[in-house]
């Protein structure tokens, strides 16, 4: 694993640094500026050192020889507070350098600040230029060796500069959106290096971030909800109560409702029943959970094949992990079945299923044939042969999907034997139970209208059998008890829905809604979204 990734890792910290600075930026929608643009510049500008160094290569006689370059992308609003630094490598002849921001299409034969939608701080006189040919006294001058930073507060639309780590204070206000980091040079010999965050900054930008984060948090926390007093409290209590009921925290819900005067819209027995089933799922006892569900909510699972499949899949995983031990291999078929024919034609259905998947299988044709070859190997034990009959499909896919896992995989039959025996604590009977359960599960999957998601789920589950130590395998994550939670939620939702109660509690809907709004803020250029990470806000004491 180590050697091939070495080159990739070298660039990773830099990427991480930017990601850490601007965690709320979705770079697929709004990429961050990472270097100067070789296309978006005037001829007199030369770039080098991965397009981070800028030098002047014009005549530099008059201001008509000024030249600028913009970064590759505009600053995403979701940065909240964006910052970049420019080190003056050489002030050249006169040190007519401008550092700032400009919108797309602003003339590049100029220094930043001289034109509309262009803003700059100039080294020769220390003035700030706000879309105007005349500057305003702003800060000290800067020259060779100085590091000048430019910060843009995208919440308030203001810009400040720093010199050698000292904040010089606000330079511009009412900035438009979608500005690009820009530098301009005007006389020969001028050279500047940019740091867009790949390297640590001289200035402590994190402290400024803290201020904005604290402010945004305070704005949210101090927001007063309109409406008569008490109404909002009531709404919140309702939200909490419904959440408790939804997840079956029965006693807590009762106590809460009692002290707040809330009412349930589900009777307590029903909640307790759900609670019991959900507990079984969370404990990994899926088999018992299924029978309880079938007993208490007859017809629910029978009519919801996908849910049944989900549960069975989980049950399979729990069997591998040794938590769910079915009383007998027939436990799967003990409840009344609706469609028996499939049970008999396992192989048939496997084949019929194979067809739509053939294109996928073809992609990985060679591993498939290898495995097939091993099947012919007479040295294989019976059990493995019997298993590969059914399991082949899953194994093949696994092989194809997890190419990188080759080393871990036990192709050798001897090792495979050991692996299997280790898997079920050496019990052959247990292993056989799992295998037979797997067959049934595969059969069941035929009944479900399989989407890529469930296909993947089945593959992942079956893949567990391919490893000597499933816990340490690439698919070992499935064994984590946390993975029971989505199954639990799905079953819970189905039960509630069958009783005409909402599938999702209002609290979770509100949460999802808020999350969606934050994403929308980012797309609408509202900088506060940078500090409106929902999980972060909720985890604050």
């Amino acid at each position: 694993m180590a050697s091939p990734n070495n080159t990739g890792q070298a660039s990773e910290p830099a990427m991480d640094r930017l990601k850490q600075l601007y965690p709320m930026v979705n770079e697929e929608e709004t990429p961050l500026p990472r270097c100067w643009s070789p296309k978006d510049k005037y001829n007199y500008i030369g770039l080098s050192q991965n397009n981070l160094r800028v030098h002047y290569k014009g005549h530099g006689k008059t201001h008509k020889d000024a030249a600028s370059v913009r970064a590759t992308h505009p600053i995403p609003a979701a940065c909240g507070l964006y910052y970049f630094e420019v080190k003056i490598v050489s002030k050249g002849r006169d040190g007519y350098m401008g550092i700032g921001l400009s919108a797309e299409n602003v003339n590049m034969n100029r220094l930043p600040g001289w034109d509309k939608h262009s803003y700059g701080y100039h080294g020769d006189d220390g003035h700030s230029f706000c879309s105007s040919g005349t500057g305003q006294p702003y800060g000290p001058t800067f020259t060779t060796g100085d590091v000048v930073g430019c910060g843009i507060n995208l919440i308030d639309g203001v810009c400040f500069y720093t010199k050698n780590g000292h904040n010089l204070g606000t330079a511009f206000t009412d900035l438009p959106q979608k500005l690009y980091p820009t530098v301009g040079l005007q006389t020969p010999g001028e050279v500047v290096d940019a740091n867009f965050g790949q390297q640590p900054f001289v200035f402590d930008i994190d402290d400024e971030m803290k201020a904005l984060r604290a402010r945004t948090r305070a704005t949210i926390q101090n927001y007063t909800i309109p409406g008569p007093p008490g109404q909002w409290t009531n709404t919140l209590q309702n939200v909490v109560c419904s959440y408790l009921v939804h997840h079956g925290y029965c006693s807590t819900a009762e106590a809460f409702a009692k002290s707040t005067g809330q009412q349930f819209n589900e009777d307590v027995t029903s909640i307790r029943n759900r609670q019991r089933i959900l507990r079984l799922v969370l404990a990994g006892k899926i088999g018992e959970a299924i029978s309880e569900t079938q007993r208490l909510y007859p017809g629910l699972l029978e009519s919801d094949h996908k849910l049944m499949f989900l549960l069975k899949c989980r049950q399979f995983i729990e069997m591998v992990s040794g938590v769910d031990i079915p009383e007998s291999s027939s436990s799967l078929s003990s409840p009344p079945r609706i469609s028996t024919p499939q049970q008999q034609s396992v192989i048939q259905s496997t084949k019929s299923y194979k067809k739509p998947r053939s294109n996928l299988a073809a992609n990985f044709s060679s591993p498939v044939s290898d495995m097939n070859g091993s099947e012919e190997n007479s040295n294989n034990t019976n059990s493995l042969n019997g298993e590969s009959d059914v399991d082949m499909e899953a194994n093949n896919h696994n092989n194809g999907c997890h190419q990188d896992g080759h080393e871990d995989m036990e192709i050798d039959s001897n090792n495979a034997n050991q692996a299997k025996s280790g898997l079920c604590g050496g019990s052959k009977a247990a292993l056989e139970r799992i295998l037979s359960f797997g067959q049934e599960l595969n059969a069941l999957s035929m009944e479900v209208n399989r989407d890529p998601q469930s296909t993947q789920m089945l593959q992942d589950a079956f893949s567990l059998l391919a490893y000597s130590d499933p816990w340490k395998s690439p698919v070992g994550w499935q064994l984590d008890p946390q993975q029971r939670e989505p199954v639990c939620a799905a079953l819970n939702s189905a039960i509630l829905q069958s009783k005409s109660l909402p599938r999702r509690p209002p609290l979770e809907i509100a949460r999802a809604h808020a999350q969606e709004l934050v994403a929308l803020m980012s797309r609408s250029g509202l900088g506060s979204c940078a500090f409106a990470n929902l999980d972060e806000l909720l985890s604050i004491p």
């Binding site: 000290p140 939200v239 959440y243 909720l538």
Partner: protein
């Protein structure tokens, strides 16, 4: 699934039943209607039945909490003495004493009169006794209640403070109690802040490990503990190098104290916390424990304070931030320079005068004073910064107003600011002239009783009296000479220095009339007194004054004519005294000036003693003194002047010419030039 906890916590906050205040509120009206019937329990406070008494105390406690009216009743009806009797009686059960102490603590939070009533009953020693109580769990509650009451009283500023922190055992006990509870931590930090008043207290607290204890408190998760801990830390390190050094090297949980303070200045901390932490770091720097070049000072603290001066903060915060900034940057040029470009500081400080106009008096004065102090520090050394300050719109007007402000603090700060700015030659010639700053300044000098004001004002006056300053004339007209001569008679060395210095500046290239006025007002006796001043600077400036008086021929002759004998005595006094070369050089220069006169020359020529002295100084080991003596000789023998030949003959006779011939071989160029000039004056012989 785990997220439920976060929601639950937030929402349950809203479920608090009825606020306590409401029950009290409903009770009050009935009290108002019938004050005697409303408090049946008052009688029982005097009961000897402990249970009854306890019950009555609890009723009283509930009644007085948050009600100044109830507290007033307790004070007026002498219930306090009963309460004090309870707490001072060791035989009363602890539970009763606890309740009584809590009631007293509650009363201490009332009006100033309530506090005074408690202080007058000499309650503090009783509370101290309560604090020292040790034993079981219930006495811990008594200790806590006593601490809280003591804290409230000492914090009020109405109780005498400064004695408790001198008691080594008590300090040790208090610091040991810091482990008890959050409430005790808050109370103790505040008590120590109020009590620590002298360098000895600071040392004592430090010796008992207060620095370490406070560092630990700063790491508390509770803001209400951190805040008083910061105040206390500031108090014990202020201007105390030893304690500050201990603090700079203290640490808790592996984190050095300066780092802990830096983290408390982070921008997501409450503003008051940022400010207090910055204040502690400022004090550490000024006490010599943290260097100005340390990033914690030059980077974090400076940036924090300049940021807190901007318009987004409360005026109270702004005032302390600027005051602290003024202290931080007072002596370090680099910090002054950095601060002047940070966060638009100068523009922001100028806004303080505007904010002041919208504020209530105490804060109004604080804002003005803070701005002046900060400006004074910023402009102390750098001409560019001074220019930036003075160019700030309306600032000079504010200074002129500040000199006449009703608050002494503002007046002093305004003079400091003016003094700082008066170091600029350009400003003396332009802005100061335009704004007639000498008027309020002279007014202050004439009427001020505060030595600090007089010191800074007279320093400023010195600068205003420099020869190129156009303010010189009008200042004279306002009676400056008498005033300055008065200063030379003060017992404070700084004032004598400023007085004589200003007179020296005034005499430089002045008209004859002014010089005579100075001599007359000062008097030769006073000059003699100043010439034997223990402060060498005073002596130097006095000699400087004499030099300035004795310039240009007619002035020299006239002055020598009037005061020649005394002046010659004075010069001889210096030359014979045990003084440094610098001082004697001044005296020789005075002789040289005298030698430049016409009739005045005789004062030297007829005094063989002086001539001998001149000859010996020509061969002195100090080149400076040789140069000055030869300069005097060449003035005496200047050939175009009447009687030059006789004087040359006389000096030759004294062997001076020979000495010059010896000295012509010197390698010192300055000395060589002087010798050569003198030699050419002697007619060929």
């Amino acid at each position: 699934m785990g997220q439920i906890l976060a929601y639950r916590g937030d929402v349950l906050v809203q479920l608090v039943p009825l606020p306590l205040g409401q029950t009290l509120h409903t009770k009050q009206p009935s009290f108002r209607q019938d004050p005697n019937n409303g408090r049946p329990y008052i009688e029982e406070i005097y009961s000897t039945d402990e249970a009854k008494c306890l019950h009555a105390l609890i009723c009283l406690k509930n009644a007085v909490i948050g009600s100044n009216r109830q507290k007033g009743f307790v004070v007026q009806h002498g219930v306090i003495s009963r309460l004090i009797q309870i707490i001072s009686c060791d035989s009363s059960p602890v539970s009763v004493r606890i309740e009584a102490t809590i009631i007293l603590g509650s009363i201490a939070k009332g009006t100033d009169e309530h506090v005074k009533a408690l202080v007058d009953m000499n309650i503090i020693p009783l509370l101290v006794k309560g604090v020292l109580e040790d034993g079981d769990e219930s006495s811990a509650r008594l200790v806590e209640a006593s601490l809280c009451c003591l804290r409230t009283l000492l914090q009020s500023g109405l109780a005498p403070t400064g004695t408790l922190a001198q008691d080594s055992d008590f300090v040790q006990h208090l610091l040991a109690l810091l482990r008890a509870s959050i409430t005790s931590q808050m109370a103790i930090a505040t008590i120590l802040t109020a009590e620590c008043k002298t360098p000895e207290c600071q040392d004592l607290l430090s010796a008992h490990g207060a620095v370490y204890s406070l560092t630990a408190l700063l790491c508390s998760p509770h803001r209400k503990v951190q805040m008083p801990a910061l105040s206390c830390l500031a108090k014990i390190i202020f201007q105390n190098r030893g304690v500050a050094l201990a603090a700079a090297s203290a640490s808790f949980g592996g984190r050095p104290l300066p780092d802990i303070l830096t983290s408390l200045m982070a921008q997501d901390m409450p503003k008051g916390m940022q400010l207090s932490a910055a204040r502690c770091l400022t004090y550490l720097h000024r006490a010599g424990a943290l260097s100005a070049s340390d990033d914690i000072i030059k980077g974090k603290t400076l940036s924090c304070l300049t940021r807190l001066c901007d318009k987004n903060h409360d005026n109270g915060i702004k005032a302390i931030a600027a005051e602290t900034l003024g202290y931080l940057t007072e002596v370090d040029m680099i910090l002054q320079k950095d601060a002047s470009i940070l966060n638009h500081l100068i523009t922001n400080l100028a806004m303080y005068f505007k904010y002041a106009m919208e504020e209530v008096p105490p804060l109004q004065a604080q804002l003005r004073q803070a701005a002046f102090r900060a400006f004074a520090s910023l402009g102390a050394n750098d001409e560019d910064i001074r220019k930036k300050i003075i160019e700030t719109e309306g600032l000079m007007d504010h200074i002129v107003c500040g000199l006449q402000d009703s608050s002494p603090g503002v007046r002093l700060a305004a003079i400091r600011c003016l003094h700082s700015l008066s170091r600029s030659v350009q400003q003396l010639r332009t802005t100061f002239q335009d704004h007639l700053v000498w008027k309020p300044l002279m007014n202050l000098l004439k009427h001020a009783s505060d030595d600090d004001v007089v010191t800074v004002a007279s320093s400023t006056l010195c600068n205003l009296l420099l020869e190129f300053s156009p303010s010189k004339e009008p200042i004279l007209e306002l009676g400056a000479i008498d005033l300055l001569c008065g200063l030379t008679r003060r017992k404070e060395a700084a004032l004598r220095l400023n007085g004589i210095w200003a007179l020296m500046n005034m005499a430089f290239q002045a008209e004859q009339k002014i010089k005579s006025q100075i001599l007359k007002a000062l008097g030769t006796e006073q000059i003699f007194r100043l010439l034997s001043d223990p402060e060498v600077n005073v002596l130097m400036k006095t000699l400087g004054l004499l030099r300035n008086l004795l310039s240009t021929k007619p002035h020299i002759d006239q002055i020598m004519n009037l005061h020649g004998i005394q002046i010659m005595q004075a010069v001889i006094l210096i030359l014979e005294g045990n003084h440094s070369a610098e001082v004697k050089e001044q005296a020789l220069c005075i002789l040289a000036n005298i030698a430049d006169g016409d009739s005045a020359k005789d004062f030297i020529m007829t005094n063989e003693d002086v001539l001998k002295k001149l000859a010996s100084y020509m061969m002195h080991s100090s080149v400076k003194l040789q140069v000055a003596a030869i300069f005097c000789v060449s003035n005496l023998v200047w050939k175009e002047e009447n009687g030059a030949l006789e004087r040359q003959a006389r000096l030759k006779e004294m062997g001076v010419h020979k000495l010059l011939q010896q000295l012509i071989n010197t390698s010192d160029t300055l000395l060589f030039d002087k010798v050569k000039t003198a030699m050419t004056q002697f007619s060929d012989s």
